[in-house]
Amino acid sequence: MNPPIDPLARVLESWKIEPASDPNFRPSVAARLAASRTNLNWSAYLRVHAALWAAVGVVLLGAAVWTGRQAGHARNQADRNELLDTYVRRLDPRAMTGPQT
């Protein structure tokens, strides 16, 4: 004896999905990908290139410290030399009497 046919199975057999195709599907996916790329923020960019920028930062800061200190020492040296010249000139009668003949 054959079992009775399930009406649900019959319905499922006859069921076909025919979705309407979206003509903008591909362009919209491409647009979303492009948007995600442009929305990358600076901190994310830094994280991606952390090693490079850390190295550049260390080099730049080192150069800045060295240059600043050298410039400061040079200025101190120039001040000392100027004071030394003034000191000697004040005790030098030849300097006080004008240019040499």
Binding site: W42, Y45, L46, W53, V56, G57, L60, L61, A63, A64, V65, T67, G68, R69, A71, G72, H73, R75, N76, Q77, D79, R80, N81, E82, L83, L84, D85, T86, Y87, V88, R90, L91, D92, P93, R94, A95, M96, T97, G98, Q100, T101
Partner: protein, 142 residues
């Protein structure tokens, strides 16, 4: 590209700020103030590490030398005004150099050990050459 330029700009600005800070921290404020005011005696005291007694003795020596210096000054000016012979003016200037050299040696003798020699090494070349061309700097180089 904009992140690259922004990062470069930010690091450059930071490095500039650090450089300026280091420059300012390296400056000797005493030296700057002495140079601005032209206070050579205060500079002499700090530069050659003079204690109070040494400073007073050197200041007295400088004051005493003032009259000697003035007499040399008058003699040279008179000679120039009277259009004296170059040899005569040269003789007066040589005498002036000898007098200054003696004075500086006396000053050096009052300084702490080691500082006197450094002082003479700096001042003597400056009086030996009136134009001061080629006189050593405090680093010992012209």
């Amino acid at each position: 590209m904009k992140f690259f330029l922004f990062t470069v700009g930010l690091l450059a600005a930071g490095a500039g700020a650090v450089g300026i800070l280091c420059y300012r921290l390296s400056l000797d404020s005493d030296l700057q103030s002495e140079n601005r005011s032209g206070d050579t005696m205060a500079w002499l005291r700090t530069e050659f590490h003079l204690d109070a007694a040494q400073f007073r003795a050197i200041a007295r020596l400088h004051e005493a030398y003032g009259s000697v210096c003035a007499s040399h000054c008058r003699a040279i000016m008179n000679a120039r005004r009277n259009n004296a012979q170059p040899a005569e003016i040269q003789a007066l200037e040589d005498e002036c150099v000898r007098s200054m050299t003696d004075h500086f040696r006396r000053v050096a003798a009052l300084m702490p050990p080691g500082q006197g020699d450094r002082y003479l090494a700096l001042v003597l070349p400056r009086i030996g050459d009136y134009s001061h061309t080629g006189a050593p700097t405090l680093r010992g180089t012209p």
